[in-house]
Amino acid sequence: MSDSLRVDPIACEGHGLCAELFPEWVSLDDWGYPIIDARPVPAALAQHARRAVRDCPKLALRLQENVSSGPS
């Protein structure tokens, strides 16, 4: 698996579950919002990533193929 964990910053309300479920990849800023490692999640941690995605109360997380950003 070479997907990255991404957050929809508009949907996210800072519940912080992701940081509890997947601390290897997610930390929280001073206001409780997730800071997510942008690198692809290694296969060994894929289970944790999927669980964080599934259990986010705002469904703000997703696993996404790495794509370069488009026009601003």
Partner: protein, 405 residues
């Protein structure tokens, strides 16, 4: 500069998009405009020409204009063209100046883009408060003879309102808030159609590339950043205003062009509230050096950089549309920290450092990134003054309100 000269050869000087600006400030009529620049060539070939020209967006993002055209052209459905003249940055006046003085150049760029893309509808988005510009556009649009459906649309004012997806939201009658991308406007924009949202100045350059070609365009500027660009210069210079410069011009040349300094400068803000502070008066004005939408401020030593920065940081926090946590809470925290430092109430330098590191890159749009860069470079450039404020609550200068907010 003569306004009656029949000059259909390309402008030879640095004044390209401003070549026809009249001393009396009146806009160029369609016939003045055609006398000056000659007829507009339109067609699909524009996309290749713009690609070759190396033109990049002049609204601040700096995205390659040819690539953006191609992204829209590759979509299914009839595209729509949107002229982005929202210009929400308080220190910026160049898009409005362009619309007031040479509206047909901007409209030509939009018409050329529409022809290249097969679009039939062009929306000219101008801030609600830009009444003079709208009046000029109403007259200019009435003069045009083409088959496009033009619509002049007043949009929300605000720092973030010019961000593409915020602009599209405003056009659709929703609050001007950025959306999460994808989908990008080139995929789904106005009424779900593939949409080219392009800055007004960028379109003006495009109108000249359509006429005179990419080689002419590249004859000024550098290989990496070709062409000319508009800058809005304010602060301690004799003649503040909008200037057209070659990309890569040293800041000191721009200041000289504006009649020189009126008093010694302590620092320069390059790129507006999306850019950063520098003390290097010879810095080359390029996108790579953070020129962004072309806002340059010469900060006199007689005003307090710390308090000015704190005031603008508070303004930027207020301009957050409050959708994303790191921006909503982070920019407020940055402003609060700066205010405490300026008042000598708390040494929040460590926290400010940590917060700037945490906030950048974490919003749906780049508002938090710009605000953090602005604050971070201020802490660096005004380090000595920050030290004085922490000891005494002041540095000897007061906030003279040089920075607009």
């Amino acid at each position: 500069m003569s306004t009656t000269a029949l000059r259909v050869s390309p402008p030879g000087g640095v004044a390209r998009v401003l070549a026809g600006v009249r001393d009396d400030g009146r806009p160029l009529s369609l016939s003045d405009h055609l006398d000056l620049y000659g007829p507009l060539e339109t067609g699909r070939a524009l996309i290749g020409l713009v690609d070759e020209s190396g033109l990049c967006g002049r609204g601040g993002g700096g995205f390659p204009a040819g690539q953006k055209l191609r992204a829209v052209a590759a979509q299914r459905g009839t595209p729509v063209v949107v002229v982005n003249a929202a210009e929400g940055e308080p220190g910026s006046g160049k898009d409005k100046a362009l619309l007031r003085s040479t509206p047909h150049l901007v409209l030509d760029g939009a018409a050329a883009a529409a022809a290249a893309l097969g679009a039939r509808q062009v929306i000219v988005a101008v801030g609600r408060d830009a009444r003079a510009e709208r009046a000029v556009l109403v007259e200019a649009l009435a003069e045009r003879r083409d088959r496009l459906r033009w619509r002049l649309a007043p949009v929300a004012e605000g720092f973030v309102a010019g961000e593409e997806t915020a602009l599209l939201a405003s056009l659709a009658g929703r609050p001007a808030k950025p959306a999460v991308k994808p989908p990008y406007p080139f995929e789904r924009g106005v009424d779900g159609a593939p949409t080219l949202v392009q800055n007004a100045e960028t379109l003006a350059h495009m109108a000249l590339i359509a006429r005179y070609g990419p080689h002419w365009f590249r004859s000024l500027g550098s290989t990496r950043e070709p062409g000319t660009t508009l800058v809005t210069l304010s602060g301690a210079v004799a003649r503040p205003g909008v200037y057209e410069i070659e990309l890569g011009t040293p800041l000191s040349h721009l200041v000289a062009q504006a009649g020189g300094p009126t008093e010694p400068s302590r620092a320069f803000l390059v790129g507006g509230y999306f850019g950063g502070w520098t003390t290097d008066e010879h810095i080359r004005l390029t996108r790579a050096n953070g020129l962004g939408p072309g806002v340059v401020v010469a900060m006199p030593a007689s005003t307090c950089g710390v308090r000015e920065t704190a005031r603008v940081a508070r303004y930027l926090a207020g301009e957050s549309v409050g959708q994303c946590g790191p921006c909503t809470f982070g920019l407020d925290a940055l402003a609060g920290g700066l205010e405490r430092v300026a008042g000598g109430r708390a040494d929040d330098r460590g926290r400010l450092e940590r917060w700037t590191g945490q906030i950048s890159g974490r919003g749906a749009c780049r508002h938090p990134d710009g605000a953090t860069r602005f604050v971070q470079t201020a802490l660096d450039v005004f380090r000595d003054e920050v030290g004085l404020h922490l000891r005494r609550g002041r540095c000897g200068a007061t906030d003279r309100g040089v920075l607009a907010a």
